[in-house]
Symmetry: C2
Subunit: 192 residues, 2 copies
Amino acid sequence: MKYDLTKKPTRGAQRTLESFSTTMIALLSKEPFEKISVNEICDISNFPRATFYNYFDDKFDLVAYCWYVIAQEIEVDQATGLKAETTLITYFDRLYDVFKNNQMLLDNVLQYNDFSGQLVNSFINYFKNKLQEILTKSIDYSKAGLPVELIVDHCSQTVVLVLKWIFLKHHEADKQRAHEYLEKLLNIEHFI
Amino acid sequence: MKYDLTKKPTRGAQRTLESFSTTMIALLSKEPFEKISVNEICDISNFPRATFYNYFDDKFDLVAYCWYVIAQEIEVDQATGLKAETTLITYFDRLYDVFKNNQMLLDNVLQYNDFSGQLVNSFINYFKNKLQEILTKSIDYSKAGLPVELIVDHCSQTVVLVLKWIFLKHHEADKQRAHEYLEKLLNIEHFI
DNA sequence: ATATTGCTTATACAAGTGTCTAAATCTAAA
DNA sequence: TTTAGATTTAGACACTTGTATAAGCAATAT
């Protein structure tokens, strides 16, 4: 990302970011990601290509920013000080809500993009990485004597696996059932 | 893949496939995947671009074929009729060997490509998908009452997680230790 | 109000991509 | 060995990409 998201954006920058991300999200429901060109995004957003490249490295970068925007909608406090197991469930629930709130977008996207393609992958990975960051901070030892990093990766990928199963492969399940899946697969109490 | 790998290739086709894949594998140790162009591959291999596109859709397609070639080196019989748990370990061991045999290539690749980038991902996913196919055939029920497809995905991704940990993140571990990781993370006997 | 600074934009460039044609060449079977 | 069918190839096409430059514009501080 060329644009620095930490500093507060000017009104203009806000409009630009918003415009590009809205256009991208709209296009994702209309054509496969690989057919979307920076030209098209700029034509629709009414900005010159040069402006696009002032903000983003490429369309992957923009789409990652879109996930960031979507994640913002929900993600709030950092919920510190909880024990690892609780943190995991807490964030699982939040991600469950993000996926649920964007079910429609996901459905549209899957009409044009492979389940295992780059686009869906970037979506999934965005949230997996978020979770990894969070878990890394809250897990610091392992009952089973396994390397912590390995456990963090394992938990994160299992969380998104369950979410994929429910929301991308359409095996609807309420939160309770989702917890059940997660607990059976993870056997959390075994290693943290 | 434009070329049909099921029919037996003519001598010419064999030469062409071999030439392109050798070139790609060589280039992977010299520059990041995104810098590798079809033009460059063709120049080095001494084939015109048109020929490249007779065989492959794009460079992703070629690189997937490279993984196919690498997998061929090892993968032999289909080891049918074993119980699911044994199948899992059997194929884990084979993948362990594939990764070990290509340690040098992997090391080189990681000099130029992100651990989470497209290239490494395509490598990992190739083997994850293979394993999924195999496990799907050998697992048909679940002790824990979980959907079988979910279990298959979970096992496959955990297997490649351990291999990533050992061979891509360089936490060397012999097969025995690798089994230990796998068993602790998976708790196989809990659900199959 | 004016100068300063920084972002936006028009335009151009050198490269790459994937497709298509028609001619040249190969190959496998009669 | 010949020939019909398939494959390879040269060349061109319309399009995309990411970068660079210099002109234009807008907000800020003096």
